[in-house]
Subunit: 296 residues, 2 copies
DNA sequence: CTATTTGATCCAAAATTGGTATCGGACCAT
DNA sequence: ATGGTCCGATACCAATTTTGGATCAAATAG
């Protein structure tokens, strides 16, 4: 197969249509240039140039190859440039796992900030529950996880990007919707819709802890994993629920969202997590963006 | 700049993730392979591979470069293949000049036949009058001309692809439209629309000859160059005209086309012309197609 | 702790590359 | 015609680069 140097030789000759001038442009002498072109022609088994004694012309095959050759050279340059940009953390792609709940409030801002500051970076977003994210992080299938505690210490680094309170969700016409805040005790007296203990373990456990600390035992009428499902059920009047603040972003009609009156609750946390041996140059860059966003 | 051999080395290592196996695949030993990769990395000033002592991994930059490298290699192969196909006359492009009149009857068939038999060939069609075609042929700006006589002998080759008679064009409601054929004498008695002596010299001269041989001197009411313009004027009732048979393809409404009764006329000829030193491998192929078409 | 595996390094031999000198054909002016 | 000039091809030589075998160093597995 031919070499890029030969391609460069050919393009020079094809553009100058003169071996001597082309050689000068390539900082070499004419004889080796002639040889390189001959070798290229032999490799392709195609005559690229018609040498008349006073002029050099492109054959049709040469014309076609010239077009392709220019493309190849452009591509090699851009490939080199891209690799360098990736190494500098200015381009490339990152696989990001995120929980369904984080897609309402944190992920959009993060994606927006990245697109603005790193326009050439491709963010590959994959929704999955926290447990799966930890597994995928370990396998190197995602670079970044946006997930809920607990986070094992084994080779992972992380920082908190969000801590949000749970707020009450009641049907719009419900008697509790009248007040600006809702007492946890009042809420617990209603039929209560809560999180599935496995698929949405973090919220499930959070609520269990919340109620048990307040010595309350609400009547659970439904277990669900997704926030929008819960809001839909609330809207239908089946019961009330506690959802993270981010639910406000959903603009769910027919559901009133009210903060709790006596708010001693532990916040629902979201963490930015990555393997400390992940060498993707984008990681520190995106981590910095994520941290800025969390701070603001 | 780097060389394609280095790209091939890198792709092999990136795919095997093992220098020894990659070297075997490349029919070389491991040490020069290691060195080539190092050189490539130094040229790009980017680390492409993460060498752990028991395993080789791609860095993100390497991942990006691998994608591009595969593309580059594909492109080089296809460029070589394409050049070979062009040299064989199976691909490439041809510049073809043609007269406006030929676009009604011969050019469409030729293009259709080429597209079918030479699907990878690009036909670049340029409408121009015969004189311009001869000029462009001389300058090498078109490979093929489809034009009217006379053709100078200087370095050109040609053969006839079409000989068509002139037929009468009269307004649909005209008294002459009733008969299946029209006598030249009757036609000459009407206001006669004919061809511009310069832009459409061939048809102009043809008609001058036709009428003078019949000892007729029609009254010319208009000079025009384009057949469709002439038909439009005929349709408007300004006069009658003689147009090549190909005009029937135009399906011009409001105009009746009738053959001449006493048809001793010299046919209007169209020639396929090329420079005998044109080395485009497609020329003989397309000439053969054109000849077949003319014979049929 | 040893055997094995893996990539890096060293070195001599071989191949490739680039340069100088020269050739051969064609065009040009005299 | 004829000598001069231009241009690409060829021959040959020197320098560099590449190659591959031997070896090394590090790390893992048993």
């Amino acid at each position: 197969m031919f070499e890029l140097s030969q391609v460069r030789c050919f393009v020079a000759v094809a553009e100058e249509l003169h071996f001597g001038r082309a050689a000068a442009r390539l900082n070499m002498t004419q004889p080796p240039l002639s040889r390189q072109i001959q070798i290229l022609e032999r490799i392709l088994s195609v005559k690229l140039l018609q040498r008349g004694n006073r002029l050099v012309r492109l054959t049709p095959a040469g014309q076609s190859f010239l077009t392709e050759a220019r493309l190849i050279l452009k591509l090699t340059e851009s490939a080199a440039l891209l690799a360098r940009r990736v190494a500098e953390g200015k381009a490339g792609s990152v696989n990001i796992g995120f929980t369904a709940a984080s897609s309402y409030s944190y992920v959009p801002e993060l994606v927006a900030a990245c697109r603005q500051q790193l326009p050439d970076v491709e963010l590959i977003l994959k929704e999955m529950v926290s447990g799966d994210q930890l597994k995928r992080l370990g396998a190197g299938e995602i670079d970044i996880g946006l997930l809920r505690p607990p986070i094992p210490r084994t080779g992972l680094q992380f920082f908190r990007v969000k801590a949000e309170r749970m707020i009450a969700a009641v049907p719009a016409g419900h008697k509790l919707a009248g007040a600006t805040t809702i007492d946890l005790r009042d809420l617990a007296a209603e039929p209560f819709i809560t999180y599935a203990p496995y698929e949405a373990r973090y919220f499930h456990d959070l609520l269990v802890e919340l109620f048990s600390r307040a010595a309350l035992a609400p009547v659970y009428v439904q277990h669900l994993a997704q926030i929008h499902s819960i809001l839909a059920i609330v809207q239908a009047g089946v019961g009330v629920a506690l959802v993270p603040e981010a639910a406000e972003k959903l603009q769910f009609r027919g559901v009133a969202l009210r903060p709790l009156a006596d708010d001693q609750q532990r916040a629902a946390e979201l963490y930015f997590v990555w393997r400390d041996d992940n060498d993707n140059p984008l990681l520190p860059v995106i981590a910095a963006i994520a941290r800025d966003l969390a701070g603001a």
